[in-house]
Amino acid sequence: MTVTLFIPCFVDLLYPQVGISMVRILEKLGHKVDFPEQLTCCGQPAFNSGCWDEARGLAEPVLTRLRNADVVVIASGSCGAMLKVFYPQLFAGTHHESAAKALSAKCYEFSDFLVTKLGVTDVGASFPAKVTYHDGCHGLRELHIKDAPRALLSRVRGLELVEMQEEVCCGFGGTFAVKFPMISTAMGEVKCSQALATGAEYIVSSDSSCLMHVQGLIDRQGLKLKTIHLAEVLAS
């Protein structure tokens, strides 16, 4: 099938390897990948800041461009939740309401797409390391994805998955990270200490935004931890 890939702005600019890995995996599984270049951002920063008019400004082209897509795969749990859960709220009562609902029905976060839609758990990856998995909150609690990334990791050769004590937010939270930087940092420190306690070398996640925040703390504090996106692990 033709998979339309939605690459969020921060993946495009900061973590292109995540998108490239997704393209390679999808093509390896025999699918055609379409990337709508004119789509840059889902509008979540404005939405979460209460500026819903501005959020709609960015979201409308997304609705229009993705109208004819068969399936949309989003390279982030958080942006995935924006398209799948929050667009219908954002456009409720407007003439885009039905388009938002139609888009919602065909949106998948990457790991969910592989496992739920394609029924694939083994993509032939090999990553010999001890890792722990960080659930991005939007993926976990808005999209209810918990098992899919773990199913994928369990089939990676050489990989050992160890779980952290609890599913707790890493503290990124978009603009929250700069509006309340010290709270955000404290939350990130709690996350890092839980990851360190597992003895893992890597924190793996489906959200580059969480990993950007956590890696920023790791680098500043010189912690013995690395971060990597699930797609990069699966492309290894």
């Binding site: 998108g19 400004g57 960015l58 004590q165 509006k179 930087p181 940092t185 709690v190």
Partner: protein
């Protein structure tokens, strides 16, 4: 910036870096989570129980007028005086009036967050009355002249040594820090107060419309003594506490205990319906129930957030909230802290002044996930943000997003973003970490990610 937001930010900066506080709260709440989960699993079907509770509260709140009238009629039939207070001030005046008419001097109180909400203790003390909190945690924070740290665990921020020092200073208890001995010290003081008190004041956990009864659930027996010994009893409760039927308690009492303290059921569960009847050996001669609105009807009028009135004040959302766990209860500067406080305080005390609480969230949704009555807390924080912005736009952010839209919707302009970003990053070290750094809020505690040598788009185009 207005005062509450400044106070919140500066205190949050201090507490979130206090590693002793962090460790202490994490340990306490992790222990709570273990027993909470154990008792949730003891329900035959916890998700179904939660759904049933949400539906019962929906019914209670959507017919609030009918349920309240029924409650009042049944209470009055047993000789209880029912008072209706639209505001905190009215509630204080009603209570002061009762106290004056009874020529009372001293008031013994069991735990009531609604009394914190209307600042009752200060009002009574200002008029020269003696007010004593009888819940152990509340007794401790009252001695410290503090507000409760948590709606269920008022003194959870204090360690044994601090309570030992406090009791020794205020009550001459010596150097013991044995919890049992410290409790006995408080008990000796409090027993005298119950006997001396003219008025027993309580809050309520639920009010049963069908039978006209007030349900109080507790672990120390202090509410029973507060209700049984003084000649006059006064109960203050928010109008959202009403439940339609007596049988609803069969669900709500274990649900509240499990979510609140991780117990299967609290130790003492009592129903109060009226003053002492002839031939009854104890209980008050006069019973007053004060029903408090204090802008709860504002929440009722908002169909999007009406379910915030489902709240049974169990504190479960505070316990899982990473913001609460890192900033602590006092930082909020509100009666109700944590996610539920961040949702309702803007309704109760003004959106513009308290909107920062709705912004101070990573929107992780742990609150929504744990709420035993299924309040859509995380999404209500988003709605508060939207409402605040619609009412009074924050121009720097609005202009920023408009500018971002202008660039991000035009591929020809977006093409420049990585190019300019790379130049910006090359120059960044000149100001990085200083107050001139435009990314200071980030770089103060974190390293910045690098703009890729080749963006995804550039790679995609390169493939042809």
């Amino acid at each position: 910036m207005s005062a509450p937001v400044q106070q919140f930010k500066s205190q949050a900066d201090v507490v979130s870096r206090d590693l002793r506080h962090r460790e202490f709260i994490q340990t306490a709440l992790n222990n709570y989570a273990v027993v909470r989960d154990k008792n949730r699993n003891a329900f035959r079907n916890y998700p179904a129980a939660r759904q049933a509770a949400a539906e019962t509260k929906w019914e209670a709140i959507h017919h609030l007028d009918r349920h309240l009238e029924q409650l009042a009629t049944r209470l009055e039939a047993r000789g209880t005086h029912v008072h209706w207070a639209s505001t905190g001030e009215q509630a204080r005046d009603i209570i002061l009036d009762i106290i004056r008419r009874k020529n009372a001097r001293s008031i013994i109180k069991s735990k009531a967050m609604t009394s914190e909400e209307i600042h009752l203790n200060e009002a009574l003390e200002r008029e020269g009355f003696e007010v004593v909190e009888s819940d152990l945690g509340e007794f401790i924070v009252q001695l410290r002249k503090e507000t409760p740290y948590h709606i269920v665990f008022p003194a959870m921020h204090l360690r044994r040594g601090e309570i030992r020092d406090l009791f020794n200073r205020e009550l001459n208890s010596g150097s013991t820090e044995d919890p049992e001995e410290l409790t006995m010290v408080a008990r000796r003081v409090l027993r005298q107060k119950y006997i001396q008190a003219d008025i027993g004041f309580t809050g309520a956990n639920f009010a049963i419309a069908e039978t006209g009864m007030i349900s109080i659930t507790e672990n120390e027996g202090n509410a029973r003594l507060t209700a049984a010994l003084p000649k006059t009893m006064v109960t203050l409760l928010g109008i959202e506490k009403v439940l339609p039927r007596l049988e609803d308690l069969a669900l709500f009492l274990p649900l509240l205990a499990t979510s609140g303290t991780g117990q299967p059921l609290t130790c003492y569960n009592t129903l109060y319906g009226g003053p002492r009847r002839p031939a009854e050996p104890d209980g008050p001669e006069e019973y007053h129930v004060v029903l408090l609105d204090n802008r709860r009807t504002q929440i009722l009028a908002d169909p999007e957030q009406r379910d915030a009135l489902h709240c049974i004040r169990c504190g479960a959302c505070l316990n899982v909230c990473p913001i609460f766990r890192n900033v602590g209860g006092h930082t909020y500067g509100t009666t109700y802290s944590g996610p539920i406080g961040s949702v309702i305080t803007p309704h109760l005390r003004g959106l513009q002044e308290w909107k920062h609480l709705s912004y101070s969230s990573s929107l992780c949704g742990a609150c929504t996930e744990t709420c035993p009555v299924k309040i859509d807390l995380a999404h209500h924080l988003l709605q508060n943000r939207r409402n605040a912005t619609q009412q009074k736009p924050s121009w720097p952010w609005k202009i920023g997003f408009k500018l971002m839209n202008f660039v991000f919707k035009r591929p020809a302009l977006y093409w420049f973003v990585p190019k300019l970003g790379r130049i910006g990053q090359a120059l960044h070290p000149i100001v990085k970490g200083t107050r001139l750094d435009p990314a200071y809020a980030w770089t103060r505690s974190r390293e910045t990610p690098r703009i890729a040598r080749q963006t995804f788009r550039e790679w995609w185009r390169g493939r042809g």
